[in-house]
Amino acid sequence: MFATFVSAGAPAVALAQGPSSPQEMYGAWCASCHAPDGTGQVAVKTITVEPMDFTDCAVTTPEPDGDWELVIAEGGPVAGLSSQMPGYGDALTAEQIHALVGYVRTFCTEPGWPIGNVNFSRPIFTEKAFPENEVVVLPSVSHGDEGDGASVRLKTVYERRVGTRGHVEVGLPLQSVGRAGERAAGLGDVTVAAKYVLHANWASTRIVSVGFEVKTPTGSEGRGVGGGTTVLEPYVSAGFAVRDFVVQTQFKVEMPMRDPGGDTEVVYNVYGGRDLSWLPSTWSIGVEINGVDGKLAVTPQLRKGLTRTGALAAAWGGYGFRS
């Protein structure tokens, strides 16, 4: 994600003529459609679609540089945008394209928006610090033990950004649980949560967020698909990048309202990994350490972008707890 973009079709010889500064390049090659001020409102419109408004920070900030560079190099369709956005990858160098992305970012003048470069790949368990607009589907399978059968869980999380740094989400778990020779299935405990970015540096190497999740007792405790009590889960999430290596952490306290003093658990997750190339669709390889009080699990995992921008991705991993 952070490696310098290299276009397969970049010209072998850098072109000496033409504009050189990012502002000049934007004025010569982008402003005819996107407008000199980035709003997309031009006096003589030559395209039939409405260009992005680069002054809208909600548009300009969420995606990492790699996504923008891919669109500039290969054109709009690579990210599901209009084909009227042409590809510049055969005409401009990687450095020129990178500089253009940096210039486009300057149209967002409202402070506080975290840049998509700290939108690190989602680990399996560690809650990301970056606020998202997305739907996450989390399937999981657990082996049975001590007389209980295997359980299958499919949790769907709907996430929306709120304001500059906020994020709210709702999670709906569907479960099938084997218990004492019988199997129960149904809706588990629905979760609602909010998250807020406390800090994201402009160099896009670190981000820290706080969040609060409430697990509601919508599932049936008697059938084994619910906890039977409301659980409050405050947490802190953070992400750091050192070159291509990323560390993400989450520290969470789970407080069941039925017996907050007795059943409170401390959960901590630490992920370390890296993307294997600059491409948004690249493989990511990493490992998570997941702890619940005295128990510890190690979860090696792989992640792969299923689309060229990585907007759709899948991850695989496995773990086992050790006391």
Partner: protein, 238 residues
């Protein structure tokens, strides 16, 4: 190491047969070429030539105040340029590949060309201004869209569709170009409307005609050995 008499005789026989086969192939090939005919003629129209120039709305410093409307180019005696004549069922000839399309004076030059599906097209520019070469297939699919932000660049793309591929420039809306990616033999009519297709084996063929603004029905022609089948087609507004 000796050579037996029977072995030498066998080698001589093989040599004679090879020479005879080569001579036979050469005679046959030349005979076949001599038997091929040709289709020639003119494309005409009574439709008026597009006379009014197109107003340039942007980059007048490079493009000028107007550019000529080249959509219907008619010669003094009614000859129609830039019509494409296709001989259905006749294999394509040896055409230049890649073909070249130049953004020149904020026009695609040449405006109409013939190529084949899968062939390469070199997109270049003589204008020191941002052009895009955006190709659409007949069904409206966008095939590619490349930016050519300065003069002197050449960018190569493949024609990944068959039929009429339309080229537009998304920054200069009046620009139009066409590449007919034909699976059959096809040619473009010259400025006076004339065309000629050589190397056509004798037989009966269907001719199809395409023009960006005008239409004509198909024609069936018979080509004879060493003959030139004359065709005159009038294309009309639909």
């Amino acid at each position: 190491m000796g050579v037996s008499r029977s072995g030498a005789r066998g080698s001589l026989t093989a040599l004679v047969l090879t020479v005879l086969l080569c001579v036979g192939w050469l005679v046959g090939a030349s005979a076949a070429w001599a038997q091929d005919g040709a289709i020639g003629g003119r494309i005409t129209t009574l439709a008026p030539a597009s006379a009014e120039p197109l107003t340039v709305t942007t980059n007048q410093d490079v493009c000028g105040q107007t550019v000529p409307d080249e959509s219907v180019l008619v010669g003094p005696d009614g000859g129609l340029a830039n019509a494409v004549i296709t001989v259905v069922g006749l294999a394509p000839g040896v055409e230049a590949s890649p073909i070249e399309v130049t953004n020149d004076g904020c026009r695609f030059v040449p405006r109409v060309q013939v190529s084949r599906p899968g062939a390469q097209v070199d997109l270049t520019s003589a204008d020191d201004v941002l052009h895009t070469s955006h190709a659409y297939a007949e069904d409206g699919r966008s095939l590619f869209n490349v930016a050519i932000p300065m003069a002197g660049l050449t960018i190569t793309r493949a024609l990944t569709a068959r039929g009429v591929v339309r080229l537009v420039c998304d920054t200069h809306t009046w620009m139009r170009g066409f590449v007919v990616a034909a699976v059959d033999r096809a040619v473009v009519s010259a400025a006076d409307g004339s065309f000629r297709i050589d190397g056509v084996p004798p037989g009966t063929y269907e001719l199809r005609f395409w023009h960006e603004r005008l239409e004509a029905g198909t024609q069936t022609v018979t080509v004879t050995a060493d003959g030139v089948t004359d065709v005159t087609v009038d294309m009309r507004e639909s």
